[in-house]
C-alpha cells in the first residue's frame, strides 16, 4: 500500500504497513510488500516471505505444507555445493501483491538464483494466486549459464509435515489413469520408500477433506520420504517433466523451464 496523503492517520497506517508483514490488501493494482504477505481465509492460510518462499500453508489448523520454495540442483563438474535456494536468490524488486477480488490475491516475485560458484545462474519468476480453497502456482526459469543434470534441475520444493500425513491414505495419479492408493507410513522402513515420480495428482485423505496437489501442463510431482536420508518427512518436488537420463544432459544458457501446479483443499461440505 502506498503511503498517501498528509493526515496523521494515513501516516500512521503507512508506518504500520511498512513495519510488519501486511494483511489483506486494498486496491487492485500491484503493490509492493517488501516485508512479506500473510494470507488468511475461511480455509487456507499461508505466509509469503519477502523472498517469495511460502511457509505454513494450513487448512484451518491443519498444517498442510511446512515450506514451499524454488530450488535448483545440478551435477557439478567439480566438487562444490551445486544447489540454488530461492531464499538466497538475488532479488529483482520486492514481493508484489494484487487483490483480484475478495479473498483472492495474486502474488508475484522474480529474482536471480545464485550460489558460491555462479553469481547469476538462472533468472526466475513466480506467480501465485491465493484463494480460500486453492493456491495456484506458476514458475518460469531461464538459465544464464550452462548447467548439467541427469534429470530435473529446477523445481518447487514442498516439505510436507509427517505429523499431518502419517498413516493417511492417499492416491497418486500419473496422467489420466485411475491412480494408485497407498498409505504414508508413520515409521520409516526402507521397503516403504515412497519415491514416486511422474505424478500428476496427489490426493490425501485428511479429517476434514482432501489435500490435493495437482499439476498443470507438462508438470509432474516427484514424491519422496526424506527420512531415508536423515530428513524429517515427506517432500514433494514439482517441476517440468524432464526424463531421467543415465548420463547427464547439459542445458545451455538460455534454456527455459516452466511449470505450474495447484494446491487445493477439497473440504467436505
Amino acid at each position: 500500500m502506498k503511503a498517501s496523503g498528509h493526515s496523521l492517520v494515513v501516516s500512521l497506517l503507512a508506518v504500520l504497513v511498512f513495519a510488519s508483514p501486511c494483511r489483506a490488501a486494498a486496491p487492485s493494482e500491484w503493490l509492493a510488500y517488501p516485508k512479506g504477505f500473510e494470507y488468511t481465509s475461511e480455509w487456507l492460510s499461508c505466509v509469503v516471505k519477502p523472498s517469495g518462499e511460502i511457509t505454513a500453508v494450513k487448512a484451518r489448523d491443519v498444517l498442510l505444507v511446512q515450506d514451499l520454495f524454488l530450488h535448483g540442483t545440478y551435477k557439478p563438474k567439480d566438487r562444490h555445493d551445486a544447489r540454488f535456494f530461492q531464499q538466497a536468490a538475488e532479488q529483482a524488486g520486492s514481493l508484489e501483491v494484487r487483490k483480484l477480488e475478495e479473498g483472492r490475491y495474486a502474488v508475484a516475485k522474480s529474482g536471480v538464483l545464485r550460489n558460491k560458484r555462479y553469481a547469476e545462474a538462472a533468472k526466475y519468476s513466480q506467480h501465485v494466486t491465493l484463494s480460500p480453497d486453492r493456491m495456484e502456482f506458476r514458475y518460469e526459469v531461464e538459465t544464464l549459464v550452462p548447467l548439467s543434470s541427469n534429470t530435473k534441475i529446477f523445481l518447487t520444493l514442498l516439505t510436507l509435515p509427517m505429523a499431518t500425513y502419517a498413516n493417511r491414505g492417499y492416491r497418486l495419479r500419473k496422467g489420466e489413469g485411475g491412480g494408485s492408493l497407498n498409505v504414508f507410513p508413520e515409521a520409516y522402513d526402507k521397503r516403504s520408500d515412497i519415491r514416486a515420480g511422474g505424478v500428476t495428482e496427489l490426493r490425501v485423505v485428511l479429517d476434514k477433506g482432501h489435500f490435493v496437489l495437482e499439476t498443470g501442463d507438462n508438470t509432474v510431482i516427484s514424491l519422496s520420504d526424506t527420512r531415508g536420508w536423515g530428513g524429517k518427512g515427506l517432500r514433494a518436488d514439482v517441476h517440468a517433466f524432464i526424463p531421467w537420463r543415465q548420463k547427464p544432459v547439459t542445458y545451455p544458457a538460455g534454456t527455459k523451464f516452466a511449470w505450474s501446479f495447484r494446491l487445493v483443499f477439497d473440504h467436505e461440505k
Partner: protein, 1246 residues
C-alpha cells in the same frame, strides 16, 4: 459361406442361454493353425543359391574370384600415434607379399568372402580392435578376355576397411577406404593372359572390440573379375523414379581409364526384369567424360506404362547403357517406386502405406549366406506371413548386397538403419556424434552404391541416439546429415534421425533441434512392464505430445516393442537343472527351496531365463510344457502387442516386432528345444534335416493380415449372466475399400459355440479402421468353462481372417459362505481412503454371502479363531496391535490377509514386507496344487479385468518358502524382483494366508477374482493348519525399530575421536577418515543430531567443533598406523540396547572390531562385530543380519548395528573399542536405549 439369419428373442442352446438376437447357422471354426511342421517350400521358386550380386550386362564376362585364398595376419604392433594412418610399412611390404613370385605356400587357407572376425567354422572368432592381413590368390585369363580392347575390372563387393590391391606385383590404384560400398579397379594394363597374381592388403582399426562387428572385416563380400567390352564402363547408376511423370532420372558413375577425355553418345535401354522385354530405348545426349571416375547426370528417360514396384508387386527393370557400337557400358537394376512421408502418413507410389515390420538381426544373413538359397527362402516365408517391411537392426552389423537384391525381388521394403556410425573408423561409440559426420563419405558411398534398390524406402542414421546422454549431443550433427542426405537422395525418401530416438521424454524435453521426417519410438509397455491399457494410453499421449512439439502431424512408427525374441530360447543347462525339480511335490519345502534357487540364480543361463518367462508364462510351463510356453509367448508377447499397434491408426502407423527369425522358422539341426536337453519329447523333433515352422509364424500370419479383426481390452473373465461389451475393431490396411462383417461366437469347453450378434461394418475405405461394440449376455455354464471369443472377418462376403481371445466363465456359485461364528473382519479401508475407494472387502464378502463380525478391538481377538484383514486396512490401530496379533496367531489363531498397500514390514509377521513396484497383469502359480487354485488354471491368472488389468499391485518380500504364487519381473536381469503375491505360512499353532491379488477390487466384475475370493475364504475357514502352510524360521519380532529421543543416551565420543570425515591427501597421516584422500573419505556424513532412516537418533560430532575430529578410526592391515583400540569411553547408564553407527574399509571376512562393555559390578561383556553380519565393507553397502544401511552417499555406506545388552539392569561404566587389525573399522556414533520398550523376545522390565 452363406449363413442363415434367425431372428429369435430367446434361443436355448445346450446348457447355455442367450437372450440376444442370434443366428443358428453352423458354427465357424477357426482357420487351421498348423504350427510345428516341417516347412514345405517349393525350392524351385528360389533363385540361384549363394550370393545375389548386382547383375552385369550380358556382354560382360564375369569370373568369380571367391574361394580359398592364401592368408596371413600380421601383428598390428604398437599402436601408432594415429592408428588410422596405416602407412604401407609393414612386414608384408618389406618382404614383398604383393610380388608375383612371392612364395605363399606357408600361408593359411582362408575363405573369401568371409569376415576375418569370425572363425573359419562360423563360430565366434576373437574380438579385437583391428587387424592387418594379406590375401593372395592367382587367377587365369584367356587371351580372348583381353582381346578387342576389353577392360579387365576387379570388382570388390565389400572390404573392411582399407584395401590396397596389387596385380602381378603392381599397385592397381589408390587405396580404397570404406566398409560398405563396392569398388573397382581397372587392371587392364597390369593383367596378362595366363596366370595372374592378385594380392590384397587389408587393414582395419576400430578402436574397440564388440561382437557386433564380427561380420564386417577383411574381404567379407565377393570378389569378381569383369571383362568389359567397352573402354568406358559404369559401376553404378542412381535411378530416381518420377512416378507422376512416368519417367526416370539417371545419374551414373563412369570410369574412364584411358588417360584422356572421351565423349560418348550413349543409348539407354530400359527392359523388364527378368524377361528382358524392352520397355524403351532412348539415345541420350553426348557426355564428355574426363579421365578417372566421375558421376554425371544423364537426364530423364520416359517409361511408357510403367509398372510400379511394391511389396504386392515387386516389378523390376534394368537400365542398360550402351556406347555407339552397342557395347554395354553399364547396367543397373531398379524398381519404379516412390516413397514419401506426408502429413501423418507414409505413401508408397502415392498410396498410403502401413508397415507390418520385423526388426531383423543381420547376423541371420551372415549365418546363412544364402547357402542353398536359405536366406531367400526365409525372406519369402516371412513375406508370406504378411511382413511388408524389415528393419535390419544397425547394431547387428551391415547387411550384404544379397539382402537388398532379394528384398527387391521378393518385395519387402527395407527401413535402412545405418550402422556405419556405430562402426565409424574412429574410436567406437565414445565419439559417436562426431563420427556421424566424419563417416559421411563412407555413408555417401554406401547410399550411392545402393541407391537404386527399390526395397530401400526409408533411412535412419542409427539406433537410439539419446540426446544428451553422457554429454553426447546429436541434434546438430543429425540435422547436418539430414541435409546432406536430402541433397543426395533425389528420391526424397523419408529420413528418421535415429530409430528409437524420438521417445516421448525427448520430445517433451525441448532438446530436439534436428529435422526428421518420421518419428520412431521404442517402448516395451504391456510386455515386460505395465499393462496393455498402459501401452494404449502411451500411444495416445505420445501423439498429443508430438503434435504439440512439432506443430504438425508426422508419421510415427515404433520399431522395437514387445520383447526381444531371445526370450524364448531353450538351453540345455537350464533344463538339466530345472526339470528334475519340477517332478517334486510343489507344496514341499524342497521344491520351494530349489524353485527360489533357480529364480534368484545369478547365472543368466538359469535364473535369467526363468525370470524372463514370468512375464507371460510360469516357470513350470516353460520347463515342462514347451508347446504351451511357445503358445503363450506368441499370444501374449507378440499377438497382443501387435494388435495394439495395428489399432493405433495414425497415432502409430505400425512397427517392427522384436521376434527373431528362429521363432518363426527353426533351421535344421537339433538345437533350441527341450528334447535335446533332457530327452523329453517336445513339439520339435530331434535331428531335423528340414526347416521347421514354429507356432509364432501362424500368429504372425494371423495378426499381420492386412485386414484384421481384433478386440480391444475387455473382461476375459466375465461373470455368468452379466452383460458384456467388447469393442471390436476392423482394420483395413489395404488400399482398397471393402464391405466388412464380423461374425463372433463364444466357444466354451466342448459345447456348441454360442453365436453372438453379427456386426456389420459396412463399406470401409482403404486404410481406415472402425470399431463397433459387441454386446452380449454371458452364458451360465453349469461348470467353469474355458474357451474363446472367436471373431471371423468377412470381406465382400468372403471369409478373410479370424482372431480369438481366451475367456473363462467361472460357474455361478452363490452358496453363501457362512463364517460359522468366531470369525472377525477388520476392514478400515473406507476410513483410510475415504472418498477414494468404493470397493471394500466388506462389500466383496457380502457379495459372496459371507458376513463375518466386524472386529471392534484387537483386545477381543481371543474370542475368534479366524481374523480376516480387509484390503487396505493396515492402519495405525492394526500396526500398534501387531505384537498382540502375532501372539494370537502363535496360540492357534488364523489370519486371512487381503491385498495391502501400506509398504513396510507386515505389523504382525516380520518375515514379510509389503513392497511396491512392478505391478503386472500376470501371476505365476508356483504351487498349482494349492486349494486356493481349486477349479482354476494358470491361464486364469492373466489380465484380470480392471482399469489397468493388473492381477496385483503390491507384492510381498522376500521370496521364501512361504510362496504360493509369484509375481513376474520387470527385467529378467533383476534377481530381487521375483516376489510372492500369495503366501501361506504356519506360525506356532496358527496360520497366516496372504493374498496380494486384486481380489477385493476385481471380484465384482471378474469371475476368476470372485472364485479366488471364495477359495480363499473356504481355505481359511477350514479347521486346523493346512499342510500347505510352511513354517519359516521366525524372525525376531520387534516393532519397527524406533528409539524416541527421550529414551536415547548419546555416548560421548569426542575425546576418543581421532579423525575427521574429510581427507585431502592420501597416506600423509594427516587429515581425516582413513587417510585415502578425497576420493576415499566420507565427507558427506551429516553432523549434529541425525535420525538416519528415521530409526535411532545419533549425535554425530561436528569436526569443526572438535578440533577436526569426528570419528574413531582404528588399525587395519592397510592402515597399520592407526591405534588398535580406544579405551575408557564413558557411558554411565543402564541400557537395554546399544546402537552403533559404524562402517569398515578394506573389510576382511571374520571379526572386525569388538566393543567391550565394563559394568559397574566388575563384569565385562563383548560385542564382536564381524564383517559378514555386523560391520560390512562401506563400498556398495547392503544390509546384513545385524547391519542396516542407514546412510549412503554414492557407493559409500554407513551401517547401524544393535547390541542387545545382556545385563540391562547393571550400569555400564565405560566401553572400549578394539580392532582385530584386519579391516579398518570406523565408528561414527553410539547411542544407547535407556528406557525399556516391550519386546516379544522378552527382556524383563526393571
Amino acid at each position: 459361406m452363406s449363413r442363415l439369419k434367425l431372428a429369435a428373442v430367446f434361443v436355448l442352446l445346450g446348457p447355455f442361454a442367450c437372450t440376444l438376437e442370434a443366428r443358428s447357422a453352423e458354427p465357424l471354426t477357426p482357420l487351421p493353425e498348423a504350427p510345428y511342421r516341417a516347412l514345405e517350400f517349393d525350392r524351385t521358386r528360389l533363385g540361384p543359391a549363394g550370393w545375389r550380386l548386382n547383375p552385369v550386362p550380358s556382354d560382360w564376362q564375369t569370373v568369380s574370384l571367391d574361394g580359398t585364398w592364401k592368408y596371413k595376419e600380421l601383428p598390428l604392433g604398437k599402436a601408432a600415434k594415429d592408428p588410422f594412418a596405416n602407412p604401407l610399412d609393414d612386414a608384408g611390404i618389406h618382404e614383398g607379399y604383393y610380388k608375383s613370385d612371392f612364395d605363399d605356400r606357408g600361408w593359411d587357407d582362408f575363405p573369401v568372402p568371409w569376415s576375418w572376425y569370425r572363425a573359419a567354422d562360423g563360430g565366434r572368432g576373437k574380438y579385437v580392435s583391428g587387424k592387418l592381413a594379406w590375401y593372395r590368390r592367382t587367377f587365369e585369363l584367356k587371351p580372348s578376355q583381353l582381346a578387342g580392347g576389353r577392360r579387365i575390372v576387379l570388382d570388390f563387393r565389400g572390404v573392411a576397411a582399407q584395401a590396397d590391391v596389387w596385380v602381378n606385383g603392381r599397385k592397381a590404384g589408390p587405396r580404397h577406404v570404406g566398409r560398405y560400398d563396392s569398388f573397382q579397379y581397372d587392371v587392364t594394363p597390369l593383367a596378362r593372359a595366363g596366370a595372374n597374381t592378385l594380392a590384397v592388403r587389408v587393414y582395419e582399426w576400430r578402436g574397440d572390440t564388440s561382437y557386433r562387428r564380427r561380420d564386417v572385416g577383411g574381404i567379407y563380400q565377393p570378389v569378381r573379375l569383369l571383362a568389359v567390352p567397352s573402354p568406358l564402363f559404369s559401376n553404378r547408376m542412381m535411378v530416381t523414379s518420377l512416378v507422376e511423370r512416368k519417367m526416370i532420372e539417371v545419374e551414373a558413375e563412369f570410369v574412364n581409364p584411358t588417360g584422356s577425355a572421351v565423349t560418348r553418345k550413349l543409348t539407354a535401354e530400359v527392359a523388364h526384369w527378368p524377361t528382358g522385354r524392352v520397355a524403351n530405348t532412348l539415345p541420350l545426349r553426348a557426355v564428355a567424360i574426363a579421365p578417372g571416375r566421375h558421376w554425371l547426370q544423364l537426364g530423364r528417360i520416359a517409361l511408357p506404362n510403367p509398372v510400379p514396384w511394391s511389396p504386392d508387386n515387386p516389378h523390376l527393370y534394368t537400365l542398360r547403357l550402351a556406347d555407339e557400337q552397342g557395347r554395354s557400358v553399364g547396367l543397373q537394376r531398379f524398381g519404379f517406386r516412390d516413397f514419401r512421408a506426408r502429413g501423418e502418413w507414409l505413401y508408397l507410389n502415392g498410396k498410403k502405406f502401413k508397415p507390418r515390420g520385423f526388426t531383423f538381426s543381420v547376423r541371420t544373413l551372415s549365418l546363412l549366406h544364402n547357402r542353398d538359397g536359405d536366406t531367400e527362402m526365409l525372406l519369402r516365408f516371412m513375406k508370406s506371413l504378411g511382413i511388408n517391411m524389415i528393419r535390419p537392426h544397425s547394431g547387428t552389423g551391415m547387411r550384404r548386397e544379397t539382402f537388398y537384391n532379394l528384398c527387391d525381388e521378393i518385395g519387402i521394403a527395407v527401413y535402412e538403419d545405418w550402422s556405419g556410425c556405430c562402426y565409424a573408423h574412429r574410436t567406437g561409440d565414445r565419439n559417436r556424434s562426431d563420427n556421424l559426420l566424419s563417416s559421411w563419405p563412407v555413408y555417401e558411398a554406401h547410399v550411392r552404391d545402393y541407391y537404386s534398390h527399390p526395397c530401400l524406402v526409408m533411412w535412419s542414421f542409427g539406433n537410439e541416439f539419446y540426446e544428451g546422454q553422457g554429454g553426447t549431443y546429436y541434434s546438430a550433427n543429425v540435422d547436418k546429415l539430414y541435409g546432406l542426405l536430402k541433397d543426395l537422395d533425389r528420391q526424397g525418401r523419408p529420413i528418421c534421425g535415429s530409430t528409437g530416438r524420438y521417445n516421448i521424454g525427448l520430445i517433451q524435453s525441448g532438446l530436439l533441434k534436428e529435422r526428421t521426417d518420421v518419428l520412431d519410438d521404442h517402448q516395451y509397455r504391456g510386455a515386460t512392464v505395465g499393462s496393455w491399457q498402459d501401452n494404449i494410453d502411451h500411444i495416445e499421449k505420445y501423439a498429443r505430445a508430438a503434435f504439440k512439439f512439432y506443430g504438425r502431424p508426422k508419421p510415427k512408427i515404433d520399431c522395437e516393442y514387445a520383447v526381444p525374441g531371445d526370450n524364448l530360447r531353450y538351453r540345455t543347462l537350464t533344463f538339466k537343472r530345472l526339470f528334475p525339480a519340477f517332478q517334486l511335490d510343489p507344496a514341499s519345502a524342497e521344491f520351494k527351496r530349489r524353485y527360489i534357487d533357480f529364480l534368484t540364480s545369478k547365472t543368466a543361463e538359469i535364473g535369467g531365463y526363468i525370470r524372463g518367462k514370468l512375464n507371460y508364462c510360469s516357470p513350470r510351463i516353460y520347463v515342462t510344457d514347451e508347446a504351451e510356453c511357445r503358445r503363450l509367448y506368441s499370444q501374449k508377447l507378440f499377438k497382443r502387442v501387435v494388435e495394439v499397434y495395428r489399432r493405433a491408426g495414425t497415432r502409430c502407423l505400425g512397427g517392427h516386432t522384436n521376434a527373431q527369425y528362429y521363432d518363426l522358422l527353426l533351421p535344421p539341426g537339433a538345437w533350441g528345444n527341450t528334447a535335446s536337453a533332457y530327452g523329453k519329447p517336445g513339439p520339435i523333433p530331434q535331428g531335423r534335416t528340414e526347416w521347421f515352422v514354429m507356432p509364432l509364424a501362424f500368429t504372425v500370419k494371423r495378426v499381420y493380415n492386412p485386414v484384421l479383426v481384433s478386440a480391444g481390452v475387455f473382461n476375459q473373465h466375465p461373470l455368468p449372466g452379466s452383460k458384456q461389451t467388447v469393442p471390436i475393431f476392423v482394420t483395413n490396411d489395404l488400399n482398397e475399400p471393402g464391405t466388412f462383417e464380423v461374425e463372433a461366437q463364444l466357444r466354451l469347453g466342448d459345447s456348441t459355440p454360442v453365436a453372438l450378434p453379427r456386426l456389420a461394418f459396412g463399406t470401409m475405405e482403404g486404410m481406415t479402421q472402425k470399431s463397433i461394440p459387441l454386446t452380449f449376455v454371458v452364458p451360465r455354464p453349469a461348470a467353469t468353462a474355458r474357451g474363446k471369443l472367436e471373431l471371423h472377418l468377412f470381406k465382400n462376403g468372403e471369409r478373410v481372417g479370424d482372431n480369438d481371445y481366451p475367456v473363462t466363465v467361472v460357474a455361478d456359485d452363490s452358496t453363501p459362505i457362512p463364517p460359522g461364528g468366531k470369525v472377525a473382519l477388520y476392514d478400515s479401508a473406507e476410513r483410510v481412503f475415504r472418498g477414494l475407494i468404493t470397493d471394500t472387502t466388506t462389500q466383496a464378502l457380502k457379495a459372496v454371502g459371507c458376513r463375518p463380525e466386524p472386529l471392534k478391538s484387537f483386545d477381543e481377538l481371543d474370542r475368534y479363531r479366524l481374523l480376516i484383514i480387509g484390503a487396505n486396512s493396515f492402519d495405525k490401530t492394526l500396526i500398534d496391535a501387531g505384537e498382540r496379533i502375532h501372539r494370537w496367531v502363535k496360540n492357534g489363531g488364523k489370519i486371512l490377509c487381503f491385498e495391502q498397500r501400506l509398504c513396510g514390514k507386515v505389523p504382525f509377521y516380520p518375515n514379510y514386507s509389503i513392497v511396491a513396484g512392478s505391478s503386472a497383469t500376470y501371476v505365476s502359480m508356483s504351487v498349482p496344487t494349492h486349494p486356493l487354485f481349486r477349479g482354476l488354471e494358470q491361464e486364469d491368472f492373466d489380465n484380470w479385468f480392471g482399469q489397468r488389468g493388473y492381477a496385483f499391485e503390491f507384492a510381498l518380500n522376500p521370496l521364501n518358502e512361504g510362496l504360493v504364487a509369484v509375481a513376474p519381473t520387470g527385467s529378467h536381469n533383476d534377481r530381487e524382483d521375483a516376489r510372492p503375491v500369495i503366501a501361506d505360512v504356519k506360525l506356532g499353532k496358527g496360520q497366516i494366508v496372504f493374498s496380494q491379488l486384486t481380489v477385493t477390487k476385481r471380484s465384482a466384475s471378474d469371475g476368476v477374482a470372485r472364485a479366488c475370493l471364495r477359495n480363499l475364504l473356504h481355505y481359511a475357514l477350514r479347521d486346523g493348519v493346512s499342510r500347505f502352510a510352511l513354517e519359516l524360521p521366525e524372525q525376531a519380532f520387534t516393532k519397527s525399530l524406533y528409539v524416541e529421543d527421550k529414551d536415547a543416551l548419546f555416548i560421548d565420543l569426542r575425546r576418543a575421536a581421532n579423525r575427521g570425515f574429510r581427507d585431502d591427501v592420501q597416506g600423509d597421516r594427516k587429515g581425516g577418515w582413513t587417510d585415502f584422500g578425497a576420493s576415499g573419505d566420507f565427507r558427506e556424513i551429516p553432523t549434529g543430531p541425525s535420525r538416519l532412516q528415521g530409526k535411532v537418533p545419533f549425535r554425530i560430532i561436528d569436526p569443526a567443533s572438535n578440533g577436526g575430529k569426528s570419528c574413531i578410526v582404528l588399525k587395519g592391515e592397510k592402515r597399520p598406523y592407526f591405534p588398535d583400540k580406544v579405551v575408557g569411553i564413558p557411558v554411565g547408564a543402564k541400557l537395554n540396547s546399544v546402537y552403533i553407527l559404524h562402517t569398515a574399509m578394506y573389510a576382511k571376512p571374520g571379526p572386525s572390531v569388538r566393543y567391550v562393555f565394563h559394568y559397574a559390578n566388575g563384569e565385562t561383556r563383548e560385542f564382536v562385530a564381524t564383517t559378514g553380519r555386523d560391520i560390512p565393507d562401506w563400498w556398495r553397502p547392503k544390509d546384513r543380519a545385524n547391519a542396516i544401511v542407514v546412510f549412503r552417499a554414492g557407493k559409500k555406506g554407513l551401517y547401524m548395528s544393535e547390541f542387545a545388552n545382556p545385563l540391562p539392569k547393571v550400569e555400564i561404566k565405560t566401553m572400549d573399542i578394539v580392532s582385530y587389525g584386519k579391516s579398518i573399522p570406523v565408528v561414527v556414533a553410539v547411542t544407547g536405549r535407556k528406557r525399556f520398550v516391550s519386546v516379544v523376545a522378552g527382556q524383563g522390565e526393571e
